[in-house]
């Protein structure tokens, strides 16, 4: 059973426990999917309305794209759990003899790369979601503008959350060139996400506060 088929309280009960998965990465998938769902809600409240007839073709396209983002992010919950397994196993390997240490190091290097790649891929999906949310906040129904803002805020939190899950793995990598390259990519995505999300969120907040 996919994690997203669990009941909300059952999933959060598992998240609260000391079980290796779901973890912080899976939580980011859930929060990212929630952000995407909020974007879809704004579109559902916009589509077919006379006032927005001029942008109807774009709304149709955004509905398709945002629906796909939600599915990708929900699948990211399981993807993250899968990517964590090899690392969890590597930690359990013996490290007494030089041969054991060598073998463990090699397995650990591959496991760390995989565990860092999953949140980095999720960050790419969250960046795409942020772009769509930003556009939705411009063309979507003004009556649902706060929901677009909530979505943007959550998308940003999931992106930053996922970045910590990259760093915690790159920190332990012996291959420092690989670690630095993944950290650089992470920082680039964070900067790009902020450039999209912050102005869009600020515009919504100002509108709602009547400023």
């Amino acid at each position: 059973m996919a994690m997203y088929e669990k009941k909300i309280n059952t999933f959060l009960e598992g998240l609260s426990s000391d079980a290796p998965v779901p973890g912080g990465g899976g939580a980011c998938g859930l929060v990212g999917a929630t952000a995407a769902a909020l974007g879809s809600m704004v579109l559902s409240l916009t589509t077919g309305k006379k006032k927005y007839a001029a942008v109807q073709p774009e709304i149709d396209e955004l509905i398709q794209k945002m629906g796909r983002q939600r599915i990708k992010l929900l699948n990211g919950i399981d993807r993250d759990a899968e990517a964590f397994k090899p690392l969890s196993e590597a930690y359990g390997m013996p490290k007494e003899t030089p041969e054991e240490i060598e073998r463990r190091d090699a397995v650990m290097a591959r496991a760390l790369k995989e565990a860092a790649e999953a949140p980095l891929e999720m960050m790419e999906q969250l960046l795409e979601t942020a772009k769509l949310l930003s556009r939705i906040s411009e063309v979507g129904s003004i009556l649902a503008i706060s929901d677009a803002g909530v979505g943007l805020s959550m998308c940003r939190a999931a992106t930053y959350g996922a970045s910590l899950n990259v760093y915690i793995n790159t920190k332990l990598m012996k291959d420092r060139a690989l670690a630095e390259s993944m950290n650089k990519k992470t920082k680039e995505i964070l900067a790009e996400a902020d450039k999209i999300i912050i102005p869009a969120y600020t515009a919504i907040e100002s509108n709602l506060r009547g400023e």
Copy 2:
């Protein structure tokens, strides 16, 4: 059935639709509860460990408190839906005759107050959650520090998200004194949350990036 008993994908399908609830407020409850669950996860990975024996009494207390926050925030999903109902009904009231308008205005005023109070109460619960998460990031297992950071990030997003749900309702209030007083309280909680969350998150990020 409480909303938190729904399957994750079913809940998000409903959130994506044009149905009046769940909405942005309910999404904030879900994300806040996810933040609380991450705090509980860190505590689950800390409790009973020799290295943290000195803080075990505080860990026990934090486990109780954080468990309660998760339940309060999960209940906030339904509380938000309940608080939105009267507003949804008020919008449907006739407004042709002066009597109808007067009656609708009176119902609308009460409905807006209720719809603004729910996210404001949720912000109080999120602030309490942020305080606990910040403390957990200090006393919890260093191995799970990224999860505390993800929780802090999500807690902040839910707090900002809930603030937009206060503003969208206070904006429409005719009683401007009430509106201003609720907006003031909202801004105070945001400022307090930032004061707690930003330094704690920054410390975690610096630690993980090895700075």
